[in-house]
């Protein structure tokens, strides 16, 4: 088994920023702020956050803010809760939350809560448990959780629980590891994990591990590095991570590295991208891989950042 190619992954992330004018980068320009969060968090987990110009990042992030208080995925686009969390996470990572008008951002997020406790992604009203997690995570980082009705928010998430122990995007939606991460994260951040049958959910999550050691996101799907994060972080939060074969999983992630040019792909020998590079490194962090900083499974930020921001340590 190979080692984690830390240097090469750092170099890979630093070079993505430079490719901006091909068609592929254009069609994802609307979620550039998510990409920035994935890239920067990876750099920090690998201990190399100081290699980037932090002021430049902060001023660009602030240009993505809309007058509503929410953030867009890029300058000039419409705001959405998905991008707002990435913006807040980036600023937390760089210890620059003080540049924010905290009440303005948190009012935007709180304003998206609906009567039944769910959250819309933006003013157009689409509802998804992903948005519940994002709202709760965002407001926790900003220490403004009191701006929403937490009890109702929790009720809605619980209504999205299925008989198999998993969670879907809306009540009755199919269980999916990504949605489970969001729901478990929302319940963890609000101190409501007692709503979860840990053995039942742990069972469902552990059955995501396939023979190759990788994890899939739903029954019958191929394994994919990004589920290393979603499944593992959920298992950590419900204290069942010792139920999977960690060594096999670590090997699977390491096999997905591009050993020449850096970066991690979804499966061995596929093309790398920043998304899977982040999830691979974050997964290894949860597996306590030597040399990678520890990541918090609920906030999706390095533990030292969470300690500094949330617990003021």
């Amino acid at each position: 088994m190979g080692e984690l190619e830390m240097e090469k992954h750092v170099r890979y992330i630093l070079t993505i920023e430079k490719k901006k004018d091909d068609f592929v980068s254009l069609v994802i320009e609307h979620l550039r702020i998510n990409g920035a969060y994935w890239g920067l968090t990876t750099l920090d987990l690998l201990g190399k956050i100081e290699t980037i110009d932090q002021d430049e990042v902060v001023s660009w992030v602030m240009k993505c803010q809309d007058e509503s208080g929410g953030f867009a995925g890029n300058i000039g686009h419409d705001p959405h809760i998905l991008y707002t969390l990435s913006a807040v996470q980036i600023l937390a990572l760089l210890d620059k939350l003080d540049v924010l008008d905290i009440d303005k951002v948190s009012n935007y997020v709180a304003g998206l809560q609906n009567e039944d406790g769910s959250f819309s992604g933006d003013i157009w009203g689409e509802v998804d448990t992903r948005f519940s997690y994002i709202a709760i995570c965002c407001l926790s980082i900003l220490r403004r959780l009191e701006k929403i009705n937490v009890e109702k928010a929790v009720d809605f998430v619980v209504r999205c629980k299925n008989l198999d122990g998993g969670f879907g995007s809306t009540p009755g939606g199919e269980s999916h590891a990504g949605q489970i991460f969001c729901c478990v994260g929302a319940l963890a951040l609000t101190g409501s994990l007692h709503h979860i049958d840990r053995d039942l959910l742990g069972w469902w999550l552990c059955e995501r591990q396939v023979k190759s050691g990788g994890l899939n996101g739903r029954p019958e799907k191929l394994p994919d590095v990004c589920y290393s994060w979603w499944v593992l972080s959920s298992l950590v939060m419900i204290d069942r991570v010792h139920w999977i074969d960690k060594e096999k999983l670590a090997r699977f992630i390491l096999d997905c590295q591009d050993k020449e040019n850096g970066g991690i792909s979804d499966r061995p020998d596929d093309a790398v991208d920043v998304f899977h590079t982040y999830f691979g490194v974050a997964g290894l962090s949860l597996l306590e891989y030597p040399g990678v900083k520890a990541i918090d499974p609920a906030y999706a930020l390095p533990v030292d950042v969470v300690n500094k921001i949330i617990f003021k340590k």
Binding site: D21, D22, F23, L26, V27, I28, H30, L31, A72, G73, G76, H77, D78, H80, G121, D122, W124, G125, E126, L163, D164, G168, S169, T170, G172, G173, E174, H176, D199, G202, W203, C206, E207, Q209, K211, G213, R218, P219, E220, K221, R240, H242, W243, I244, D245, K248
Partner: protein, 447 residues
Amino acid sequence: MIMGEAGSQENSSRLLMQLEHILGSDPLIDEVGFIHPTQLMALNGGSTGSLDVSAHGSQHSSDHVVETDILQPNSSVFWIKDHKLAISTQALLPLHNAAKHAFTTALRQYKMLHNICTKTDRLVDETVSNRTLASENLPESEVMKHSKSLLLLSCDFGSAWNARKLVLSKNQQLSLFMDELLLSALILSYSPKSDFAWTHRRWVIKTISGKCPNMQEIVEKESKLVENIAEKLKMNYRAWCHRCWLIPYMAKEQMLSELTKSKQWAELHVADNSCFHYRRKLMLRIIEDSCSRQLPEFCFNHVPDLYQMWKEELDWDETLIRRFIGREALWVHRRFLSQCWIKHFVSDLQGAFCHSKNHPGISHDVHSFMYNEMQLFHACLTVLDDEFEDGQAQATLAAAYILWVSKQIPQSQGIKLEDMLRELGGLKTLLNKLCPFRAQLWDGLMS
């Protein structure tokens, strides 16, 4: 250099005009493809006749006078025939840039005008709306035109979807909402996972649901659309979520017909857990509708039907399990069916529907239920004899299933299942042997 850039910019806005002319002339385009320039050349194969889109429609009376030759599609970039449109991959970048620029400009103008209109509303109300619809409509039709081109090229450009919602929410013409369903269906036909396109459809349906007389028909078509898209891309989570989302709009008859229709589909796609999940959702909803908000007697009257439905599903699932070896989705489905069966129909447990009276011909006996499941389990173990991986998977799934069922039967009931479940000790050994990399899981579940 500068000359060249200006030239190419002009060229790309001309391409955009051509694209928009094609889209405007043929509102029934139902397929878009991005293909390599050499392929496109081959398609056009010298015969430029097929490119004469102005022959398709003559709605363009007013702008028609303007430079028809400029609107004549460039045959090295576009190909159109029988409502199918192909665009050269080489032109995507300039087209995207031009569309984005045109869209941004149009939206800015639209918002400016709209702000002015709302601010001066009280002063000019009647006069503004009566003055000239055309000039007022211009910015909004520009927004619609350019956002459409942009979305065809880049379906996840959220701001363009939003701009369309903005225009529509100020207009409220039902036919315009129907156009949105066509556009998003077109985009989904080649980007079946586009979250934005699915979200847009839900917004449209939510918005028209109170006002539209033929909702049932729309929901039916919508369900059919998901089926078509799910056929092209298997296990498409977003598509099936959308179908599940439709269920509350369905009447009972429609739910029953959806169950029938999806049954055939499921048989042809036994690995697609999402389709089985859709069935689960329908079945749960039918139970809910028959029982929860009704009087107990009403519920009681429905029990034979519900029992029959569940029994048939269990039998059907068993047939599929025996026919398709080692398919996880079939066993996931069985876990659900057994769980609900035990909860609702088994009388000596907490069966919610069993009350005091019994229905003739309905077995409420947990022992006979378990007996059947154990039979199935043993049958699946014999497949182990063959050396194929599927046989191993089947045995693992069967053993894990028995473990699952045993956990559904509350121990407090003091039922004499020990005979059957005595094998549980052996079950752990078996699971460890069949699926050693999950040893920690089996240990955690059975200690």
